[in-house]
Structure formats: C-alpha cells, structure tokens
Amino acid sequence: MKISQKITRKLITLALIVILSAIFAATTSSFLKLINIQEILRVAAYTGIICVGVSFVLISGGIDLSSGGIICFTGIICCRLAVLGLPWPLVVLAAVVVGAACGFLNGWLITRFYLNDFITTLATGFVFSGFGLLAIAKEPSGTVMSQTIRNRGFLMLGKHVGGFYYIVIAWVVLTLIAWFVQTRTRYGLHTCATGSNAKSSEMSGVNVRRMKVMNFTICGACCAIGAAFTVAYQQTAYLSLGSGMGFDAVAACVVGGVMLGGGKGDAIGAFLGAVFMTIVTNGMRKYGLDTSWQYVFEGAVILIAIMSDAGFAVVSARRLKAISEKNANEEALMEAQKGGGAQ
C-alpha cells in the first residue's frame, strides 16, 4: 500500500510526538497524570486555534505576525462585554466580528497596496495592541483597571466537560472544519494554488487578492475565538495577552508541515504542530532544569523536528526528480520506438 507524501509528513510529526511523550512519561513522574494531559491539551488548544487561522494564511503564501495584537484587542473586548453582563454568544460574536475585521484590514492593506506580509502584519500587530490599550478599562486617573469577569455564562467557556476543556472541543471541531475546507473544497484548492504560484493561479482564473483577504479574515476570526476561550479561563484580559503568539503559531504550523513559502500543509498538520510544541515545553519543565538549559533543549528539539522535515523534503524532491527522469526516459524511449516503427 502506498502512503502519500502528505500522510508520511504527518506520520513523522506524530512519531515525534509519541517518542517525546514516551521519553517524558518514562523519565518524569507527572507527565502521564490526567491533570497534566488536560493541561497539555488546554495549552495546545489555545495555540492550535490560532494555528488553524495561521495555516490558511501560510498555505496561501502569506504570513501573519499580528495574531498577538488581535488576541490582545479581541480579548479585551470580550472582557469588557462580559463584565457588562452580555450573554456569551453575543460576546463571542462581537469578538469574532472585530477579529475578522482586523484580519480583513491586514489582507486589504497587503493586497491593495502590494505590501510585504511580514512587515505589514508586524506593524498592524502593534496597531491592534494599541486598540487594546484604548479599549481596556481604566480608572478616571487613566490607570488601567484589572477587571474580574463574573459573567457565569461567559465563564463557562473556560470550564471543562467530561475532562475536556471547551477550548479543546472547539479546537478539534475547528481543525476538522478547516481540514475539510482546505482539502476537500474549491476554496482550499484555490488557497493552495495561490500559495504554490500566485501568477499561474491568477492566469487560471483564481482571484488571488480575494483569496488572500479571505484567509487573513479567517485568521483574525480564529484569533478572536482563541482569545474568547482564554479570557474566559483566566477570567480577565490584560495588555500582554497574546504576546509572542504570532511567532508561536507560525512555528507550530511549520513544525506540523505547513510550508512557509505556501502551497503545502493543512490544519491537521498545524494541529500536530501545536501538540508537539506544547509537549516539548511541558515535558522540559518537569526536569527542574536551569531555565537557560530548558530554552536550549526546547530550541534543539524544535530544530530537530524542522531538520527532519527538511530532510524529508529533500528525499521527496529526489524521489520526485527520479520519477520524472524515469518518465522522461520512458517517453523518449517510446518516441524512439515510434520513430523506428514509422521508418
């Protein structure tokens, strides 16, 4: 039975997750505890939901570093609205609309003014964090006020059912929907084509600009969903909410096989990437190592994962080259045979 390249890539990440988990389980006493597994899933779900959105942007050949800013802004909006006592569907809906609007702005700026994704989203990230500072509750003196959310309906989003946090359930559902859209629909095909070769896609009738704007919008909405669940869990929002998340989500996607240049990967890969990154961080903490060594080992493990990915890409490229050469030789031989037959 032949296993496709896509599946092999995921199996590699899965194997790495299993190997690492086995090592941590064998060498630490608390890794396999139920409470730890719940915690791994909760943390992975936060990164994972952002990864779902970021995977759309990455596959279409872009990059979004403004996720942290969007999480901060939408998280603060959730907090303010929840404190006002609004029902949770309205709070989440408002956050998603604002998040999507932020994403739309990113996409619009990039496609309308032909700006570089990296710099543009880095800049808009600051803008969104600034909006967060504007939106956060303040005392009359201008001092930022720490608000504790007591809206029971909204706080339910931060709880768990049957041992699974609601954020984990949302993550799994979102991943499955995104995977379906990315691999089984025309939209996914166009996204992938945009990332593989934007010019060719445009010539083939794909509205590349619209695809990009849509994908950034989806990314913004996912950030808002992640923010809503996290704010519900933490029962408050603060200005550094989401800081560093832009890079973390991109890193998790890449570890999961989503190609930085675009055209390859899907939400399942991003899912595995988020799990992998969380397990590395969680496991390393259990050794009681000095912080500097924790960082060194964490970085090294991620490097190994990326290197194995690169190695796999080289092997695949060689295999593809060999196959295409073989096909070319066969075609040449057939041509020659045809020519001989005609004579």
């Binding site: 608390s30 505890k33 409470i35 730890n36 915690e39 909760r42 943390v43 936060y46 500072l133 956060i136 303040k138 003196s141 201008g142 001092t143 930022v144 006020m145 720490s146 608000q147 504790t148 931060g158 996290t230 869990y233 933490q234 029962q235 408050t236 603060y238 200005l239 550094s240 909410l241 989401g242 800081s243 560093g244 961080t281 969680n282 903490r285 259990k286 009681g288 912080t291 500097s292 924790q294 960082y295």
Partner: protein, 351 residues
C-alpha cells in the same frame, strides 16, 4: 404497613449515617475529631526530614531582583536538604505564569512563590492551586485574589517618603513628572500613587504628567525622559518608580546637556547600578530595599505554613497574611554604608 415503612426508613437512615461516620474517621475518633481532620491538611514535618517541594515563579528570569530574592530563599533553607526549590521562567507573560502554576499543581508541589505579572489574571489558577492544598505566597507584585500570604516592600510608603524627602530639596510646587510602571502593574506597584498623594496633600509638587511605560529598562527610561525633557522644558523633578528608568533618565538629561539645570532624579529599588549612580552623583537617590530579605521572609513564612498545615484555602479563603518590609531613602549621604551591607552583587563596581 405504613408504620413499618417509616421504621425501615429510619433504620436505613441511621445505618447510612453510622456508615458515613465510620468511613470518614480513620481511627475511630469522635465526630468532633473528624470535623477537625477534614478542615486541616496533614502537617509537613520538615524538621524531621519530611520532603517538601517548593517552586518559585518570578516574572521572568531577567527580573533584576530575582537572583537576590532566590539567594534569600536558599539561605533560609540551607539547613533543610529535604526542601527542594525549583525556579521557572515565565518570560514576563501572565499566560506563561498561568501555565507554570498549572505545571506546579500537576507536579504536586507544596509551596509556590510568585512575582505576579498581573493583579487579576492569575487569581483563578492561584485559587485552583490553593484548592489543591498548595500554599501560594506572592512577592512584591501581588494578586487581588485570596492566597496564603503576600510579602511586599512598602511601595506606597516608599513613594510617600521619597516625596517627603524631595520636598525638602526643592521649592513648593516643583514641576514633576512621574515615570511610572506599566499600566497593568499600577494597582500593586503604588509608589507613584504615594508620591502623588503627598503632592496633592502638601502642594509641594506640581505633577505635570504620570507617564506609564510598558517596559522598565534603561533604554525605555532614556526614551521616556528624552520625550519629557522636550515636552516640559521647566521640569524640575523626575520621579521614577524603578531604578532602570532613573538611570535612563539620568542619561537622557546628560545627552540633552541639561546636567547643570538641577533636575532631580529619584528611583526605586536600590539596584547596584542605581547605588553606583547615586555615589557618582548622577541621580539624587532611591527608595532602597534589599530583595534578599523578601526571599528570606517569604521562605520563613512558607516554612511556618507548611508545618502548621495552614493555607488560605483551609482557612476558608477569607484571609491572607500580609507581610510588609520597609524601604529607606538612600542618597549620597548613606550610599556607601548601604553598598557595604547590601546583598545585591556589587562585584562589578569598585567599592
């Protein structure tokens, strides 16, 4: 028949109650003993070699006073090889602190020390830790939710005392800018508020602006002070709520060529660089505290609580102990004496 049912129900209820009581008491004690046993958790006898696991979560490994606080903690447990103390780096991110708190719960530590990044964000996780029987002690930057104990320098008093001292050095209504901490830390780092309250009460200072900065570094202090010097040409006092900002402000004054304008700069903390700057006459003074004693006090408090088996959770979440440590004004008059007695590492300076 009805009567029989009633008697049967009564017997069953009595049996159930007896069974429950027998199940709850492990030594056949009275119901009063059972009640006490349910309220208190087992005492950790650290003096007889009982293992005790502690964790310290600073804001980040780069937190300047972290090594000195840690030194104080380690000194307090020097005679207790059975007490282990692990440290974690939260990278100055409240979300990471929440994850690390969860990690400590998972590992089943007995005590958590924390320099909180946000007064509110950690509350639910700290409550979860306390519910798991962990003694949570916050140091300096507290949390608004109830936890077992809070150890803090008197930030408000430090600001107030500094203002009191400075008022004797400048004329009434001295034009002042407060270079304050990040907005989210203001609720717990109240030195700026102490300064402002003294100014309002006495009219000794005219506060031109309370300038909050997201990061407290020399570079940020430099930028903020440069901006302030441009904006307010007649500023007389730069009250900085931490030493790095004060040092940055001193550099900005020098860069602007205004070192002879008599602009007074004051800091908070008493870091080695600030003590050196005071000795060099670059800043007028600082509200000094030795973080070693914060660490020491926190550890001693923790050792008491684990031995007594008391935490805010089993006290009904209604009370937490507040331990305030004093600060003192350090100026050129007492800086050398302070340097000789400090636990900060002054090896980079020649004193």
């Amino acid at each position: 028949m009805k009567k029989f049912r009633k008697i049967l129900a009564l017997v069953l209820v009595t049996l159930l109650a007896v069974a429950l009581m027998a199940g709850c008491s492990n030594d056949g004690g009275s119901s009063a003993d059972t009640k006490t046993a349910a309220k208190t958790k087992p005492v950790i006898d650290i003096n007889n070699g009982a293992a005790c696991k502690m964790a310290y979560i600073p804001m980040g490994a780069g937190q300047e006073d972290f090594p000195v606080i840690l030194k104080g903690m380690q000194e307090a447990i020097a005679l207790y090889p059975n007490i282990t103390l692990d440290t974690y780096d939260a990278g100055f991110n409240p979300s990471n602190q929440i994850n690390l708190l969860n990690e400590c719960i998972t590992q089943g530590v007995n005590v958590i020390f924390i320099n909180s990044m946000d007064a509110t964000a950690l509350n639910s996780t700290i409550a979860k830790a306390e519910e798991a029987g962990i003694v949570v002690i916050s140091i300096n930057n507290g949390c608004s939710g109830v936890h077992t104990a809070h150890i803090q320098n008197t930030t408000y008093d430090a600001g107030y005392k500094a203002a009191e001292y400075l008022s004797s050095k400048v004329g009434a209504g001295a034009k002042t800018v407060i270079l304050d901490v990040a907005a989210e830390l203001k609720p717990t780092c109240t030195m700026g508020q102490g300064f402002e309250d003294y100014a309002t009460k006495t009219g000794a200072f005219e506060i031109l602006e309370d300038y909050a900065q997201s990061i407290t570094s020399i570079e940020v202090g430099y930028q903020a002070a440069s901006e302030v010097l441009t904006k307010y040409k007649d500023v007389q006092v730069l009250y900085c709520v931490n030493d790095n900002t004060a040092i940055g402000a001193a550099q900005a004054v020098e860069a602007a060529g205004r070192q002879n304008d008599g602009i007074i700069i004051w800091g908070y903390s008493g870091t080695p660089a600030a003590l050196d700057a005071i000795a060099q006459g670059k800043i007028l003074g600082t509200s000094y505290s030795d973080p070693f004693y914060e660490g020491y006090a926190a550890m001693v408090t923790a050792m008491n609580y684990v031995q007594l088996g008391v935490s805010s959770h089993n006290m009904g979440n209604e009370f937490f102990a507040n331990v305030l440590l004093p600060t003192k004004n350090v100026t050129s008059e007492n800086v050398i004496e302070t340097i000789r007695g400090t636990h900060w590492d002054m090896s980079a300076y020649n004193y």
